[in-house]
Symmetry: C2
Subunit: 458 residues, 2 copies
């Protein structure tokens, strides 16, 4: 009857046919498809490669990564490039007061017949950390545009309007506050943050520089229910998919993060004249606590993680017994209650260590980010999209923060992960194989079509 | 017969009488003594208080300590003050090419009859660490001058000429190299050290500033056998004497110091996306090693100490698993062989930790200072002097370095310790009770008289 693609199994093939049959908006004259629509992998690759030139180290190559700090010249150049790509794909970009680029797809139906469907929003970010890689954010941003271009070329009309977003300052490398654009979108941007100044430039000036309007920042805020759904394709930034040999991760949610600051106070004294049994060595106490934190975090099953990443010793001299050690604790899990329990266990353990080492240990919780769960129907849709494409997938948490966690405050959210080679990210060595990039974009496209058919993908 | 001082027990009293009877140089007309000579405690205290004004923080008091970095204006002012005290005590100061102040006591016999006795040298230093205290170095320096003044006032002549020394740049706070003056004296000053530049001033210029002559630095070197003995009174800088309730420490020697640099290489990765069992966390490995070092150092009896005082984490960010940790190890004991054994044990343990934590640990020995043993006869003399003064004493190592370790290369060396309140040193809170200062000076004086009678105090 139709040409059978042996890569796609019969069940998925039929499901796809069924989806196509149920599809309300195929344009007259559009080519018939023999399976799921596919994006153009070569075009996506060449656009990622072209984008990598903005913020590339002088004299470097693609492998040298990018430093594309938000609000920088590199960021401005990249935004202009991406905006031109949007126009070429039939999108109409506009910049909101926070500097986010929103672009609606004129080629798709703005309504599926009922006239007032809410848009499906999808996209990512293009700012980077210093010495970052070419895939974190870039892949999801350019794949979003490529998906629209592919749908337009295939003459596919959706019931829900499609809208692409490039979020402003996701990384927080400029002012130490991440998810700036999406926080403004979700009404989570405190006004005093505009006054932050780095290198003589305020955040307000930075936002103005990329075309935003800090004076009207409140108007960047969108209300709950403004969108049918939010989708984001992103690299995993960890090694789970690669180790499992799976091309697609279905994100269950973005973890809750509890951060604590620890101060261990001992007594600084001469390293030569203070007998071992009379020391109040803050680094001995801190070392015990660091090992205890790892033990506490790993002693119950689950994917929770705990990290002591930053540590400072005072006075930090070869010949002085450490008097004070300050260090951070970063705890992450989808289950905030588990994190609170771990925090309590750490505090109890710190008290024991303090008593045993004759030190004083203070553990203060400094920030607590809520977990953002992906909507079950969105997870289901991503899984089905991967199936339809013959791609094996697994459910997994996102240990990193993403703009999706802000979007999840307004509408059902879903995230698609693709493998990171070696689990490396925030590094020029960050890499996702080109076929994996294309597979992720295909799943994004297919998921959009599935979500488009849902009444409420929550 | 004579007034009996009940504080001094009969045995000591008689021993002192015996010492006085054997004394070769009591001047005609000098007052008879009813026990050991004593320095003037009030005068010593007032001179220490006056000296504390050089380098005192603006608007501060004695309790605010001093920052009297070598070669600074504060150092220059203090040296001028001490030189004036020397002259007032009947000493004739001169500055050697390294900037050390040597002062011979004209009031004492330059020979005890044989015409060619070598001098007894004693003194300390007056430079300080930044935010240091008023006793480290200052006590031994001013006590040396006070001893000469007391001997002169008592009309005591010694067989051996007496010579006071104020060593230049003991602390090494200026150029990061301690014992500069005494190293030049012992021929342990590498010529290239003169070229060190800090704050735009070379060490050569610094030495010139305090009256030395860097072009003739070789001439500061004295040959072995130039002196009959070297003595130094110093605060303990640890809490052993105070805890034991003893006023006098007889130093057995200045410890050997072995320093190691440790580099732990793991892999820096995202604190959210890297599962616990896939981490190569350099700080976990370092924490294990730090605790192991303490265990290895303390598992055999003795006074050896081991310290990890300086530690740096890279990249040192809250949300990044530590990739590299660098830290120091400072090991001290009188027995260098014990330190080598401990170093070997640490290296073996580091190999095990590296294997277990999937890290690479490099342990490199960077410096190795030899121990400087006090001459047994000098220790014996100090103990006898304390006995004669009714002061209980204990033998103990010096965990800190001192100019005495350089002097020990040329002649028999002895050091006298007095208690540090709370064991605190290199701090404005450094304190030795005034009566303990006076007791130390008295023991210095008495020891000089005992050593003066020895043919060879080795």
């Amino acid at each position: 009857l139709e040409i059978y693609n042996p890569v796609v199994n019969r069940r998925r093939f039929l499901a796809t046919l069924g989806a196509a049959a149920a599809f309300p908006g195929r344009l007259a004259g559009a080519p018939r498809r023999d399976g799921p629509l596919r994006i153009n992998p070569a075009r996506l690759q060449s656009q990622i490669e072209r984008l990598s030139e903005f913020g590339r180290p002088a004299g470097g190559t693609f492998a040298d990564g990018v430093s594309r700090i938000a609000y920088s010249d590199a960021d401005l150049g990249a935004r202009a490039y991406v905006t031109s790509l949007m126009r070429g794909a039939g999108l109409t970009p506009r910049i909101d007061p926070a500097g986010n680029i929103f672009a609606s797809a004129s080629g798709q139906a703005t309504s599926g017949g009922r006239g007032s469907e809410r848009p499906i929003l999808f996209g990512s970010h293009i700012d980077s950390v210093p010495s970052g890689g070419n895939f974190d954010g870039d892949l999801g941003s350019l794949a979003a545009i490529e998906v629209v271009r592919t749908l337009n070329a295939a003459g596919v009309r959706t019931r829900h309007p499609l809208e692409v977003v490039i979020w402003a300052e996701e990384e927080g490398a400029a002012y130490g506050r991440s998810l700036s654009g999406s926080r403004a979108f979700a009404g989570q941007f405190p006004a005093d943050e505009l006054a932050l100044v780095v290198n003589g430039i305020s955040k307000a000036e930075g936002i103005r520089r990329i075309g935003g309007d800090p004076d009207r920042l409140e108007q960047a805020r969108r209300s709950s229910g403004s969108f049918h759904a939010y989708l984001e394709l992103h690299i995993e930034q960890g090694g789970t998919l690669e180790k499992a040999g799976l091309p697609i991760g279905v994100v269950e949610g973005i973890v809750s993060i509890h951060r604590h600051d620890v101060t261990v106070r001992g007594f600084a004294n001469h390293a030569g004249t203070t007998p071992m049994n009379e020391r109040q060595d803050a680094l001995i106490a801190a070392s015990q606590l660091i090992l205890a934190i790892r033990e506490i975090v790993t002693r119950e099953p689950g994917r929770q993680v705990g990290t002591v990443g930053k540590l400072e010793v005072s006075p930090n001299a070869t010949n002085v017994v450490p008097g004070v050690v300050k260090h951070t604790i970063d705890l992450r899990d989808l289950d905030a209650a588990k994190l609170s329990r771990i925090g309590d266990d750490i505090r109890a353990c710190a008290r024991e260590i303090a008593a045993a080492t004759h030190t004083d240990i203070e553990v203060v919780r400094v920030t607590q980010h809520d977990a953002a769960l992906a909507a079950p129907a969105m997870q289901e849709a991503i899984g089905r999209a991967a199936d339809a494409l013959g791609l094996r997938s697994t459910r997994m948490p996102s240990g990193a923060g993403h703009d999706a966690q802000m979007a999840a405050r307004l509408c059902p959210m879903g995230m698609i992960f693709v493998p990171s080679v070696g689990g490396i990210s925030h590094s020029p060595r960050e890499l996702t194989a080109w076929p994996d990039c294309a597979r992720g974009a295909d799943v994004l496209l297919e998921t959009i079509l599935l979500v488009d058919k849902m009444a409420d993908p929550a």
